[in-house]
């Protein structure tokens, strides 16, 4: 017995929404970044689910690419966050507000 594709899609849509909500309401830069990773992972889940549903491996290969890109992004993001923390000693994005009109 297989689990219908709709279940996977509903789960990944829910994960995506949790990620979007996290980006919009959380104030810590690292938590925001983790929410973004959650969005990417929900997309991965969609791709893998479709891939197995369609019997087509393209989606799984795409997930590899998304994972590597997410890793590169995580490295760059952590580096940026550390550089910022060294100058400002905070990660609260409400206090990171020098640039505005």
């Amino acid at each position: 017995m297989t689990i219908p594709i709709e279940y996977y899609l509903a789960l990944s849509a829910f994960m995506f929404l949790v990620g979007v909500t996290g980006v919009l309401i959380r104030r810590n830069a690292i938590v925001v970044f983790m929410s973004i990773e959650l969005m990417l992972n929900s997309a991965n889940l969609t791709l893998v689910a479709f891939s197995s549903y369609l019997g087509n491996s393209v989606g799984q290969i795409f997930v590899f690419f998304v994972m590597t890109v997410a890793a590169a992004e995580a490295a760059v993001g952590l580096a940026i966050i550390i550089a910022l923390f060294r100058n400002k000693l905070t990660l609260n994005i409400d206090e990171i507000n020098i640039l505005k009109w």
Binding site: V20, V23, A43, N44, G59, V69, V76, L99
Partner: protein
Amino acid sequence: MLNSLQDLYHIIPLLIVSGGILVSIIVEMYSKDSEKILFALSILVFGAAGLFSLYSVNNVSILFNGMLATGGNVNVFSFIFNIGAFIVTLLSADYIRKYGTYYGEYYIILQSSVLGMMLMAGAKDLFIIFIGLELMSISFYVLAGLNRKRYNANEASLKYFLLGAFATGFIVYGIGLIYGTAQTTSIDILTVRFPQLTGNLLFLAGVLLFLVGFTFKIAAFPFHMWVPDVYQGSPTVVAGLFSTGGKAAAFSAILVTLAALFNGNVGSLFTPYLIFVSALSMIYGSIVAISQDDIKRMLAYSSISHAGYLAIGLAAGNSEGTAGIIFYLAAYSFMNLGAFGIVALIEGENETNLSIASYAGLAKRNPALAALLSIFMFSLSGIPPFAGFFGKYYVFFAAIKSGLTWLALIGILSSVISVYFYLRIVVLMYFKDQGEEVIPSKSAMGMVGVVLSAILVVLLGVFPGSIINLISSFL
């Protein structure tokens, strides 16, 4: 896979830039004083790749099992990116030292961002769009914050990174839904299957998410909030690259996918969204730019409104619109890079002299710079006979042709508003006495870069017809 050496010949511009990156990494590893070498290497790489793209513009072909296209407008884009990066490299020569410490990675990452843009323009598959987009975006996050001791740069970089990655999330999820419903990531197959998918809500949601993600990347209205902060906080020359290369690359990717979607006019489902983005970006960008005192923020808002003008061409959805967008992007890239270049020359140490008031009386002290900046400002505001006017003309013409006359009227209205803040700088330079003594820095390379962009702006303004004919012949 590569079938023969013939295939390698077609991707020479890509090979030049990739080879440039690898050689630059080796040089940076082993050389004690690598700045001069890397500068020369970047100039060589961008110049060679740009000129070769132009030279091989007629070799249209599709390579790697239908993954990558070369020739035609792909090479036109490649020319824009490489010559744009060429100008940015010239401007960086002295600017980077003035702004702060030089970090060896600067030119390497500049080259990798250009490689990403070229991949985006040549993409024939959602894979390549994604890889190119991320190569470009991640390089941009690093470029914005490379000077890690500067707080402004940190902040700009963090904002760019968080919002850029957020947009990437939308794009990936959109690609996931498109793949699942269309059962392919190839754009050509997508074009064929699109007519059967117009009733599939999941597919339409996927395309919409994809478009929303790219609306972030082109810096258009509902998702524009990062633009002014990022441009203000980043090094000026790098901000110039974000606003030109980044925008042009994102538009090239949208054109690649929408060309598939608009095939047979089924893509008109998304026209309301594009009209919304375009109209509000133009109006919002032009009106908020008026109230800015910082020239980089003003140029950032002007960049939002230019994204709106460009989106008119997308909303029009015909081949005139596409040709108009490509011409507009070429014109916009060079005039905006020129403007950012002059801002970089005027800028003092520690990011001073960035207010609009610093430009008062510039014409008396440095008539050449004032004249060049006037050319760029006239062109940005769309006054003939410069390139910016023809860009707008072609885009508006395409809109009228597809029955969106009122959108073109909004565009004209917004251009009229924008004349105020562009020409305010020209008036300040020529008719105001200087308040404080602002000495532009002496930078021969920087001047070469600015003059080169001015020449390109004038050339595009003098021969718009033949260039638009060239672009249209590839559509």
